[in-house]
Amino acid sequence: MNTTSQRGFNVDLSVLVDIISNAAGMMILFACMSLLVQVDKKTEQAVDAKPIDFPLSYIPTNKSSVVFALKNGRFYRLPDQALFKEVIRQNRLNKPISTLRLEKDGVLGAIEFTQLGLGYRFYYKLLDKDAALLNHPGALKDELDDILKTYPKNQYYITLYCWPDEFAHLQDIREYLIEQGMVVSWHPRFPGKADGETWDIVLARGDYDENFTTIKAQ
């Protein structure tokens, strides 16, 4: 399969045939691979998908819950990571902890090693200081964008604890997070309905207590 160019030399087109057939083969391979990848993604989504399309609570099995709170006109991040780090720091000093407290970003947090010795219980008091203000849309958006960056939507779902005065903000925040593809659930909280005498939120990991239920999404 030869052809002569204007300059008088022969171009062997059989090389082109080889190349084109190789390219076609590679394209078919890539098409198959991309199809397989798509199928895998669909399977993964199906496993973790919302079972029914209306606000029925469910448990995203492949995602961890991360909790935030709206109160006092502020948006609070709960300092669970800081508490864990402090426990580890104390343990490295060869000290066991029973209860440990710290204040961070406007939240007074306490961590308690459970009586059974299999997990931790967290107590949070939301203080009227330091946390992002809900009536500053720019700062709040930055805060939410930072959260979305820190907690990827394929690994986490967000739970918002909300007090009555902040319901309007809850709606906006929830809509924004859902628009960004994040799964969101929320829990209404009422004055006087706080867990215990002084704490606004009580959560646990690895605790066995009849008063606790699994955090669900909607």
Partner: protein, 330 residues
């Protein structure tokens, strides 16, 4: 070779190089666009790194190495307190009568650190095995330290199995979880995990014993995990065809497992077991009953009808459920 043929060769070569280059470039772009960008599961990478190919000699898994490392640093021979009558390590009771699962302050420090590292890894989205790598192990060898580290290793394998449902992890999960549950220090949580691991490893009788032990020692009567324990006993009974125990427990499932309506948590496991035990019709009965409770009538009927080979009372009970669902659908 004359000038003309040399030019031809050079031009052919150039055409070949240019087109090949284009194809390689487009293939790279296609790879970048189409293939997933997430890194390979960290667990597999770490396992591979910690277990280099060693001709003729298989290295121990990293968690065994971790335990051995501590064993090698024997500093003292202080033993934990043992119960004089039974000769076993017993939990020290404190607080309001709820038993602790710890026997000494040193054990508490290590347990606290392990749980905090595990949970911090989970909160920060790191793979579970990163918790073991960050663990500061200053303890000399003590039986409880051995137990705590094996417990951590078993949980890491378990968490990876729960996350991926990778069948290649099941044997290791069962081995490590069984070792932990066989310790004198084992508690209901260890029995639960050993039951879970052995159920999926196909050691049904062993799984059932662990799960029954867990149920006996469970500190509360409610909660998702306790409900799952009860459900897994049902799965064991279904696979072993223990019809009497199966139907008796199934009757009280809604009371013992308040979170039964969250089918997304446990139905994928049931499907895995159905595939692994195709001759266990009671698994389909269980599957059908759970869907029936959730008013998923069409799917429930489908599962009931898959339960072939039932005889006697079992057949009659399932037939009555089929009739109930059909009547409801009309």
């Amino acid at each position: 070779m004359n000038d003309n043929s040399e030019t031809t060769l050079i031009y052919n070569g150039l055409i070949f190089l240019v087109i090949s280059g284009c194809i390689l470039a487009s293939a790279t772009v296609a790879c970048w666009l189409l293939l997933p960008k997430e890194p390979l599961p960290q667990f597999n990478i770490d396992m591979a790194q910690s277990q280099p190919m060693d001709a003729g000699k298989q290295k121990k898994p990293w968690w065994d190495q971790l335990v051995d490392g501590i064993r090698a640093k024997v500093q003292g021979k202080q033993m934990v307190k043992r119960d004089k009558d039974s000769g076993k390590n017993v939990a020290v009771a404190h607080g309001s009568g709820v038993p602790s699962t710890l026997t000494s302050e040193e054990q508490m420090i290590l347990r606290q650190m392990i749980i905090a590292e595990e949970q911090l890894a989970s909160v920060e989205g790191r793979p579970p095995e990163s918790a073991a790598k960050r663990l500061s192990t200053r303890h000399g060898y003590q039986p409880w330290a051995d137990y705590e580290l094996q417990r951590m290793a078993a949980r890491i394998v378990g968490m990876n199995y729960e996350r991926t449902r990778d069948p290649a992890l099941v044997a290791e999960y069962a081995r490590t979880a069984t070792a932990v549950a066989s310790s004198d220090y084992a508690n209901f949580e260890d029995y639960f995990h050993a039951g879970h691991a052995n159920l999926f490893a196909g050691n049904i009788d062993q799984a059932r014993n662990f799960l029954l032990n867990a149920e006996k020692q469970w500190p509360v009567k409610t909660g998702m995990v306790r409900g799952l324990n009860s459900l897994m006993i049902l799965m064991c009974d279904a696979i072993s065809n223990r019809q009497t125990e199966f139907f008796a427990r199934l009757e009280t499932l809604q009371e013992t497992f308040q979170d039964w309506m969250f089918t997304e948590v446990y139905l994928p496991d049931l499907v895995i077991l159905e595939a692994a035990h195709p001759r266990a019709p009671l698994l389909h009965v269980l599957h059908g009953r759970l869907l029936d409770m959730a008013y998923n009538d069409a799917a429930a009927l489908q599962q009931y009808r898959k339960a072939e080979g039932l005889v006697g009372d079992s057949k009659r009970v399932v037939q009555s459920w089929i009739e109930e669902v059909e009547a409801r659908r009309k």
